[in-house]
């Protein structure tokens, strides 16, 4: 019952956001800073309204590199997590490589990726994968490992092969952890895509921000940031909705599940 007031919850969130925007608008109106420092929300909306196709096109590019990076991170991440759980040797090698990779600043790597892969979508996707994959691997490996030992004993009593145990026990057991990882990874993938766009290329919201900054077009920078925020939020809630559909059996979903019936 805790969350069956879901729709009013969304309404409340929007109300708070709207109040904050109105405060912002009033503050700009009252203090009148130079438009180059802080434009009012109304100008940002007007900017979006004046060239919707422009923003849509670039947002579309960012969305596609984000989703491609996210999808690859999920597929590769799950595969690596399986390898980590299957062999201690793979665990040590893969975990070390991932930790090294994760501690390198992606901003510093991005120019290299552009040199290797050009200025198209590829380096953006690659950086998105690098940023997103860590949480997927870490969470899925934990989920695959933390299986009830009695469930494994039960499988062995029935002479189940390793693959069958993986498919019928370990994978379903790791699904909740996969979704935790995906919720973190989807935001990281978006950041990765933007980092890639900052370094080179001629498309995407990162590119829009970079160009607008060069022209001191602060309104456009804010407009691009606004779109980014909307995309990031929507993607997060889409993953969360998928979680609710995929895991009706999980403890975290049960009360909602039963209150729906």
């Amino acid at each position: 019952m805790a969350r069956d007031s879901h729709a009013p919850g969304i309404g409340g969130t929007f109300a708070v956001l709207l109040v904050l925007l109105l405060c912002w608008e009033a503050a700009v109106w009252f203090f009148a800073p130079a438009p180059i420092l802080l434009p009012p929300p109304s100008s940002i909306m007007a900017e979006l309204w004046s060239s919707p196709r422009y923003f849509l096109r670039h947002a579309g590019f960012t969305l596609w590199t984000t989703l491609a990076g996210f999808g690859l991170a999920v597929v590769l991440g799950v595969a690596l997590a399986v390898a980590i759980v299957a062999s201690r040797w793979a665990d040590r090698v893969i975990t070390t490589i991932l930790v090294v990779m994760n501690s390198l600043p992606k901003v510093a790597l991005a120019p290299l990726f552009v040199i290797w892969m050009g200025t198209g979508a590829e380096p953006k996707i690659a950086i998105a994968v690098m940023l997103a994959i860590f949480s997927i691997v870490a969470d899925v490996a934990l989920g695959l490992r933390s299986v009830d030992p009695d469930a494994l004993a039960l499988a062995r009593v029935h002479r189940a092969t390793g693959w069958r145990i993986l498919w019928k026990v370990r994978f379903p057991n790791a699904l909740p952890a996969l979704f935790v990882g995906m919720k973190v990874a989807i935001s990281f993938a978006l950041v990765g895509a933007i980092v890639g766009e900052f370094v080179g290329g001629s498309a995407g919201l990162g590119h829009v921000i970079l160009i607008a900054q060069g022209q001191f077009d602060t309104v456009r920078v804010f407009a691009a940031l606004f779109v980014l925020g909307v995309i990031g939020t929507l993607l997060f809630y889409i993953v969360e909705a998928a979680e609710r559909v995929a895991l009706p059996w999980h403890v975290s979903q049960r009360s909602q599940h039963s209150s729906q019936r």
Partner: protein, 257 residues
């Protein structure tokens, strides 16, 4: 009756940070074909360790266990097991949890569906086949776990304190059902428990185990007639068996009178 499972000189030593721990030493035990044998003892006597060795899950470090003459190095075919916890998978319906026994062995799921439903019906769970484990009570969940163990018609059923976590009334109920399974299944059952009354009520023979190190001390024949109604537990013959076993525990210093 022929010998089904034979343990000779069975020993199990664990390595621990404080040095080796002896869980079982020189265990000798024969389980006859088609009998219901209880492994009875206090906690720490190694009865679960012995059962897991019979299941082929954990091997002994000394001695040998044979199943009809062949050494048990891995889980044998046609064996079912019930654990103290029901080990039902949350994401599967009760029916699919029961069918898991077939799926693990790579047997076609569809061919077992009718039997799964028949078992669930017999255990009073027919109406709950499409429910999920968390929607059922502890007793119903353990019934489903028994259905799962019985799905593939095991010749040997191993039960590791299956009713230990249940309340007394549910326990009585399941004891009665288990003695029915025993009667019409003609299968060998090895049942681990620390309840003397439960062991006497269910078993053809009770193997009493003791601690320090874990070993089989004595095997009691329980010649009570079958079928055994629950009221059998109030008869003098039943009390005599219980008293004999309690007397042994008392001499071993496990039970103080």
């Amino acid at each position: 009756m022929g010998v089904c499972i034979e343990v000779q000189g069975g020993g199990k030593t664990y390595a621990s940070t404080r040095g080796p721990v002896i869980a079982l030493a020189d265990v000798g035990l024969s389980v006859h074909e088609g009998e219901f044998l209880a492994l009875l003892g206090p906690s720490g006597c190694g009865k679960s360790t012995l059962l897991r060795a019979i299941a082929g899950l954990d091997l002994l470090t000394a001695g040998a266990i044979t199943l009809r003459g062949k050494p048990i190095n891995q889980p044998p075919e046609r064996m079912g097991m019930v654990f103290q916890r029901d080990v039902l998978l949350d994401w599967r319906s009760i029916r699919d949890n029961v069918l898991l026994a077939a799926e693990f062995q790579g047997l076609p799921k569809r061919a077992h569906e009718a039997r799964a439903m028949a078992l669930l019906e017999r255990f009073g769970l027919g109406a709950f086949a499409d429910r999920h484990p968390w929607e059922l009570s502890g007793g119903m969940r353990q019934r489903a776990a028994i259905c799962r163990a019985l799905l593939c018609e095991p010749e040997i059923l191993l039960m590791d304190e299956p009713f230990g976590a249940l309340d007394a009334m549910t326990r009585d109920d399941l004891n009665l059902e288990l003695s029915r399974i025993q009667r019409d299944g003609a299968r060998t059952i090895v049942f681990v428990t620390h309840s003397i009354a439960e062991a006497v009520y269910l078993s053809d023979r009770v193997a009493v185990m003791s601690t320090g190190p874990g070993r089989v001390v004595e095997v009691f024949d329980i010649d009570l007639p079958r079928p055994r109604p629950l009221a059998l537990r109030e008869t003098p013959e039943f009390a005599r068996h219980v008293a004999a076993i309690r007397g042994l525990f008392s001499r071993l210093g496990i039970v103080k009178e």
